[in-house]
């Protein structure tokens, strides 16, 4: 797949309100750089991530989707991220089964104190998706400008 040099991927990062969103905030206040094409969507808990949201993000033009939540055991609602973990495992496995690049999806646990980890994760994920190129297999042409 040819990748235009000026092309930048669109990344949707779903961040849990209690840990990862605060982690992203911390990386900002620490002036740690991460690419501007990461669009953060705040969700109340990683467990709020309906699998449909992931597909919807790809439909609307995302090239990669990442879910960030509290570390297992640290969920603000005690058990939310345990359920999210199982759901996302099965969803990613299903996407892989349908032949959609599995590197476009990821889950990372980022606590409110891990600003550096948030920035590093995003840099790494953007690099991975940039290498993969545009999302062609799960795109909706009607949603492309």
């Amino acid at each position: 797949m040819s990748v235009k040099t000026d092309w930048k991927p669109t990344i949707v990062a779903f961040c849990c309100n209690w840990c990862s969103y605060a982690g992203a905030d911390l990386s900002g206040t620490n002036r740690l750089q991460y690419p501007a094409n990461v669009k953060i969507i705040r969700i109340p808990c990683s467990c709020r991530l309906n699998p449909m949201f992931v597909l919807r993000a790809f439909q609307r033009g995302a090239d990669g989707v990442i879910l960030c939540g509290c570390h297992p055991g640290d969920c603000h609602y005690t058990t939310g991220n345990y359920y999210a973990r199982r759901r996302m495992t099965l969803l990613f496995s299903m996407l892989d089964y349908l032949g959609i690049e599995r590197d476009r999806t990821r889950v990372e646990w980022v606590s409110a104190a891990e600003g550096a980890k948030f920035a590093a994760t995003m840099n790494e994920f953007v690099a991975t998706v940039t290498a993969l190129g545009e999302n062609r297999r799960l795109e909706d042409l009607r949603c492309k400008a």
């Binding site: 449909m52 089964y97 690049e101 799960l138």
Partner: protein, 325 residues
């Protein structure tokens, strides 16, 4: 099996049930349809039970659960799994159904007859392990095992999970059903080939919603796909994304509740092997979270309604699976 019709009559006239849920004579010999019978005359006239009664009756009990009195129902082994799953989900009250378990040797389908090159079929008779088929071009005989529905080719169990009485012999789970062989074959393919395989299959989807309507696990009062804002249109798909979205989400919504009854594939007018999506979830659940069969009992929790603190991370998908796209 003549005993089934006899039993239906007996239940209605004996007052054990207010109505009987069974199979009604269809327009052709190969499509008996689920039907509710309230009187002995109706049973005499329309009730059938033969090699083509593949339809799973469990789902129709959800609506009948709201009716007064007891409904008697005939369940084959795989149908009983669906019923137990629905009872577990509080969709059906156990005391409102009278279950007659019917032993099953696999049900037949018209597709298999066509595949065997039998055309112009008029009617058939059951003769032991074979079907005697009357066609426009004369009679022919086909072994029952060669005329099976695709869902019966890899039967997972002949055990009837719950019943009030039994017609025929109680069976056992089938240990080596080989039902995941096809999934494993797909998993071994390269992502490109898998993508091509699924595009080829799913692009035939006409969004008739038959798979959704027949599925015992797909029984929400309001379906996410009936929402005009769901991101997919309700008529024929305009974009390949819609088919992907519809089938991934439908499979996900029944994941860990799907009993693998195979009705989705049976009713698909476009012959899409939808059970391969459900079986992928079942296989993953078995491998990652321990063996689990939905509907096999009344008390275990489905894998997606449960967790262990030591569960694997989602990155296992990236680590374990073969070649990268």
């Amino acid at each position: 099996m003549q005993g089934v019709k006899q039993k239906a009559l007996e239940l209605l006239t004996g007052g054990k049930a207010d109505r009987v849920l069974g199979w009604r004579r269809g327009e052709t010999f190969y499509d008996p349809t689920p039907g509710v019978f309230a009187s002995a005359e109706e049973v005499e006239r329309d009730f059938v039970f033969d090699a083509f009664c593949g339809a799973n009756l469990s789902k129709y009990l959800i609506a009948l659960d709201r009716a007064e009195g007891v409904t008697a129902v005939f369940l084959k082994p795989c149908d009983s799994y669906s019923l137990v799953q629905l009872i577990k989900e509080h969709r059906i009250h156990r005391e409102k159904v009278y279950i007659v378990g019917v032993a099953c040797e696999g049900m037949c389908g018209y597709d298999a007859l066509m595949k065997a090159g039998i055309e112009g079929v008029l009617s058939f008779e059951e003769e032991g392990d074979a079907l005697k088929v009357h066609t426009l071009y004369g009679d022919t005989v086909i072994a029952r095992k060669d005329a099976l529905l695709s869902k019966c080719e890899h039967c997972k169990s002949k055990r009837i999970v719950t019943y009030d009485e039994l017609l025929g012999e109680q069976g056992d789970e089938v240990a080596d059903s080989g039902r995941f062989d096809e999934v494993a074959r797909l998993e071994k393919m390269t992502p490109e080939d898998r993508f091509a395989f699924w595009q080829n299959e799913l692009s035939r989807c006409i969004r008739c919603n038959a798979c959704r309507n027949v599925c015992p696990a797909c029984s929400c009062e309001k379906c996410v796909f009936d929402n005009p804002d769901s991101g997919i249109r309700n008529k024929a798909a305009a974009d390949s994304f819609e088919e992907n979205m519809f089938h991934i989400i439908r499979a996900f919504h029944v994941a860990s509740r799907c009993t693998d009854c195979g009705e989705c594939t049976r009713v698909c007018p476009q012959r899409i092997p939808l059970h391969l999506l459900n079986r992928k979830f079942i296989k993953d659940i078995n491998e990652l979270y321990g063996e689990y069969q939905a509907g096999a009992d009344f008390d275990t929790r489905p894998a997606l309604l449960n967790f262990q603190t030591g569960d694997c991370e989602p990155s296992i998908v990236h680590v374990r699976g073969g070649e990268r796209a």
